[in-house]
Amino acid sequence: MPPAWVQDNTDSLADSDTASTIAVTFGAAVAAGSLIFTWAGWGTGDVTPTCSDSVNGAHTAYGKLWDAVNGQGHCAFYRANTGAGATTVTVSFGVSKQYKRMQIAEYSGVTTSSPQDGNTLRVQSGTTTPSSGNITTTVNGDLVFANIQNIDEGGSGSGTVTAGTGYTEREQRGVWTGSMEDQVQASAGSIDGTWTLDAAKRCICHIMAMKAAPPPPSNEIPPRQALRPRAFAPGLAR
């Protein structure tokens, strides 16, 4: 089976909340062998966040960016080959932080070992069509996951974001603080995470590709080998 979205969830704490962590629980139990994506945002100073969940322990950090110009950070994580069960994902900043946001998503059909196949993130500013920058994938059928984080919540516009062509949008709620989108890329090559905003905002855009799980062993019966002509035993008449 190709990679597929299973579920997602989000949390956006009050800007004034000063806890050193933010956590989100999936609405349903995570399946065994899934992949979990997590991204989080924060303000009030650069740190190196960590991520873990209640079933699998530590997640791999696949990118962090601190934008000193707007005083906000972005971090993203994944955990491949999950164990099954009710799962709460927690991002820890190590010290008190404000302006915390977080989204999580579960996908099936991603390879369980060394899944990464491209990774880039960047700040975008002054455009209604921000993008992550291109990655070049190496194998067909990748899960391409992209997310955008609004770091200009006080800016103009009503706060809508639309997924780019070919992507399916996930988990945008209310006045957007961020959004996720995904697609399965049929053929390897260059691809960009793209969005359309209702007004130009400063934001952080991130794209990553994950290799699809290899197909399961076939249940087909192998073609019968051609029958060899029997050797006639010497001395026997045909």
């Binding site: 880039t120 700040v123 920058g133 919540e153």
Partner: protein, 129 residues
């Protein structure tokens, strides 16, 4: 491990500067590149910035992979809670696999766009998580 300089404080024109291949100390598993973007943290500075490519080797530099690109920009300081104060030190970072491997190396390229402007860059390896 303390931060170390990868680009001295100077005015840089558009183009690429190499981050030389550097050994990653064992047990350290996260690298951050810090860039002082104070000179472009001004109105109109949003079209200026740096693009940082990092690549990693797990075999002493024979093979390179896991490319990671992060791009930082200038612009009018703002954001929730009011504009931050200078200096404006932006950063990008990523986890490095295989922390007990003594043959890990990192190299990279810093590309300046919208220049010239004054900047500097430092890197740091830390334990992770």
């Amino acid at each position: 491990m303390a931060r170390f300089s990868v680009l001295a404080n100077a005015v840089y024109a558009n183009g690429d500067r190499q981050i030389a291949s550097t050994a990653v100390p064992t047990n350290l598993a996260f690298v951050t590149v810090y860039v002082d973007v104070t000179d472009i943290a001004v109105a109109g500075g949003k079209n200026s910035g740096v693009r940082i490519l990092l690549e990693f080797s797990l075999d002493g530099g024979t093979n390179w992979g896991l490319p990671f690109v992060g791009e930082l920009r200038g612009g009018q300081p703002g954001g929730p809670g009011g504009p931050p104060s200078p200096p404006f030190i932006s950063s990008i970072g990523i986890q490095i696999p295989d922390p007990l491997n003594a043959n890990r190396r990192v190299r990279g390229t810093i590309t300046v766009f919208g220049g010239p402007f004054r900047m500097s860059a430092e890197a740091e390896f830390v334990t992770y998580p």
